[in-house]
């Protein structure tokens, strides 16, 4: 259970996250939406420790993680993938996976043994299979296609066996067809891995179709939370999106 309690963060005078309180049940799949600058990425950055919150709590199974460093938070079980695929360009897919498992096993500073350690292999293998990257294991990350890089980024989070997986726009920069393939993958991962998944998404078609739970952020505040039907009919949400480009069509 991931519980966010009155989380706040401001930059200068601007409140990027304003007193946000939320619960994410174990095994839930939630989409975070909101107009540009709504504070979605800041919200993720606060949970994963990239930013220190001004106040509030981030409780994962009762342990407060607010203000701790990213490595600590990762070790408690909150993994994350990035809007722009964040990978290790010169490592191969397999090396990336193996190194990540090493880190998760607290063996990142082992010097007396040769890389890779045998006992890390099956986990890495499993993650590559899950994301469909096994066939590209010997490619260096820099030579992968954009979509594969995004998958590798997700695999990098997933291989650590997180309890909660945060995906910042998994479909960013993709064509329509590729988007659906990616989002199907996300849904499949959620179903098979039984983990809590929270993702940011701009495409309303996708959100309303696959997310059982939706959170709408606007100017750092929660505008609405609930099931797709309720969100679709929510007055405040419609208002916030009115006039903001093509999203209107999707909402109405």
């Amino acid at each position: 259970m991931l519980e966010i309690r009155s989380l706040s963060k401001s930059f200068g005078g601007v409140k990027a996250t304003d007193n946000v309180t939320l619960d994410f049940a174990d095994g839930s799949l939630t989409a975070v939406i909101g107009p540009n600058g709504a504070g979605k990425s800041t919200f993720f950055n606060l949970i994963t420790g990239a930013l220190k919150p001004d106040s509030g709590q981030i409780l994962l199974n009762g342990i407060d993680l607010a203000g701790r460093s990213p490595p600590e938070i990762v070790r408690h079980g909150i993994g994350r993938a990035f809007q722009v695929a964040s990978i290790f360009p010169s490592l191969t897919v397999q090396e990336t996976m193996l190194a990540a498992v090493c880190a998760d096993q607290r063996r990142a500073s082992v010097m007396h043994r040769r890389f890779p350690l045998a006992e890390t292999r099956d986990r890495a293998e499993h993650a590559m299979e899950l994301l469909g990257l096994a066939g590209k294991r010997n490619r260096t990350a820099a030579t992968l296609s954009h979509g594969d890089q995004k998958l590798l980024d997700i695999a990098l989070a997933l291989v650590l066996d997180p309890k909660v997986l945060l995906l910042d726009e998994p479909t960013a920069g993709m064509g329509t067809e590729e988007r659906w393939r990616m989002i199907d993958k996300v849904r499949e991962l959620w179903e098979t891995q039984k983990i809590t998944v929270v993702f940011i998404e701009h495409d309303m078609d996708i959100v309303f179709k696959i997310a059982p739970e939706i959170i709408v952020l606007c100017y750092g505040r929660i505008l609405a939370t609930g099931r797709p039907d309720a969100i679709r009919r929510n007055e405040a949400v419609i208002e916030a999106y009115l006039g903001t480009e093509h999203h209107t069509g999707a909402i109405a």
């Binding site: 490595p71 990762v74 993994g79 090396e95 082992v110």
Partner: protein, 341 residues
């Protein structure tokens, strides 16, 4: 996990483990073979100049390869790595001159001193962004150099440690004998390279590569970036210090130039010359630079001018080290062969 998967997992466990073991044995065998060849060299070529050259290669090679652990593997561009070379030379020289302890004791004590100094300087520096890191390490190098110059009563100031370093025999090894010193230097070089290679190929070595590629991402998979950087900074300092110790033994003294910033500059250039993408690149660079230095010094007094032009040629013209070309050529050939086959 299903039973089937578990079964496959168990199989996967066995094979790589065996591979890793043979690989390690192979590395150790190669190291041993290289050492034997180097040690037998004097029986074939009795040239004193050649032995001197190899000893200098050992000193600078250890220094340059350790710098590559920082520059090439971790992406930490230290422009002050030479301070540990100087520290090793002065630490060891002073220890032998002032205390008269046996050589191995002085050796270990010097490494302990280097460890402490590197820990303090590293703790301050490794947090800094790349260009700051480069210059603040350089500033520390200048601090150590100026301390050596001004603390005349201890270090002899700009005259250096004079009067020779006593090298009493131990365990039948007499380092004042050139042949003994030669074999000992080769042993230190081979052991040092073997250990550094082990580090580079260990899980920690891959942690360093991740930090170089994308430190932010590394921290998001649970790696304590600061600690890893500090660890490699200190380790690299120990190997550089060993290089300095060999140098002090070789010249039987220590001079402020050993701690001057140009040593760091040369180290960086050696890495560029040989290439930072291969483990042995810096070793190749060391041999080339020493040959170049010796040739240029014989031909002209404007040594810096020539060296500068060579550096420009590599930095602006080629933009790669020699070993990088070898690797590329090899990859190309393999690709072509693959296409044909």
């Amino acid at each position: 996990m299903t039973e089937l998967q578990a079964d496959q997992g168990a199989q996967a466990l066995e094979i790589p483990h065996a591979q890793a073991k043979t690989q390690r044995n192979r590395d150790a065998l190669i190291a041993l073979a290289v050492f034997v060849v180097l040690a037998l060299l004097p029986t074939v070529f009795s040239s004193k100049l050649l032995l001197d050259f190899v000893i200098r290669c050992a000193a600078y090679g250890l220094f340059a390869t350790s710098l590559n652990l920082l520059v090439g593997y971790t992406g930490l561009i230290s422009f002050g790595h030479g301070m540990f070379f100087g520290l090793g030379a002065y630490g060891f020289g002073l220890m032998m001159q002032k205390t008269g302890v046996p050589v191995p004791v002085a050796f270990i004590a010097t490494l302990v001193i280097t460890f402490v100094v590197a820990l303090v300087i590293g703790a301050i520096c490794v947090r800094l962004k790349e260009i700051y890191f480069a210059f603040v390490t350089l500033a520390f190098q200048m601090l150590i150099h100026s301390t050596i110059l001004s603390w005349v009563s201890l270090t002899g100031g700009d005259q250096g440690l004079r009067g020779g370093i006593p090298r009493p025999p131990f365990l039948g090894i007499d380092l004042s004998n050139q042949l003994h010193l030669y074999v000992a230097s080769c042993a230190l070089l081979v052991i040092g390279l073997y250990l550094m290679h082990r580090i580079a190929q260990s899980p920690f070595g891959y942690t360093l590569r991740m930090i170089r590629d994308n430190a932010m991402r590394a921290s998001f998979i649970g790696i304590d970036v600061w600690r890893a950087k500090l660890t490699i900074f200190v380790l690299a300092a120990l190997f550089a210090s060993t290089g300095g110790i060999i140098m002090a033994l070789f010249v039987s003294g220590a001079y402020p130039e050993f701690a001057y910033w140009t040593i760091s500059g040369e180290g960086i250039f050696i890495n560029m010359l040989g290439g930072v993408t291969t483990f042995l690149g810096p070793m190749v660079g060391t041999v080339l630079l020493l040959i170049l230095n010796d040739t240029v010094t014989r031909l002209t007094e404007y040594h810096g001018l020539v060296l500068g032009i060579v550096i420009l040629f590599f930095a602006i013209g080629l933009r790669k080290g020699l070993m990088d070309f070898v690797v590329e050529w090899y990859a190309q050939r393999r690709n072509n062969a693959g296409e044909r086959g």
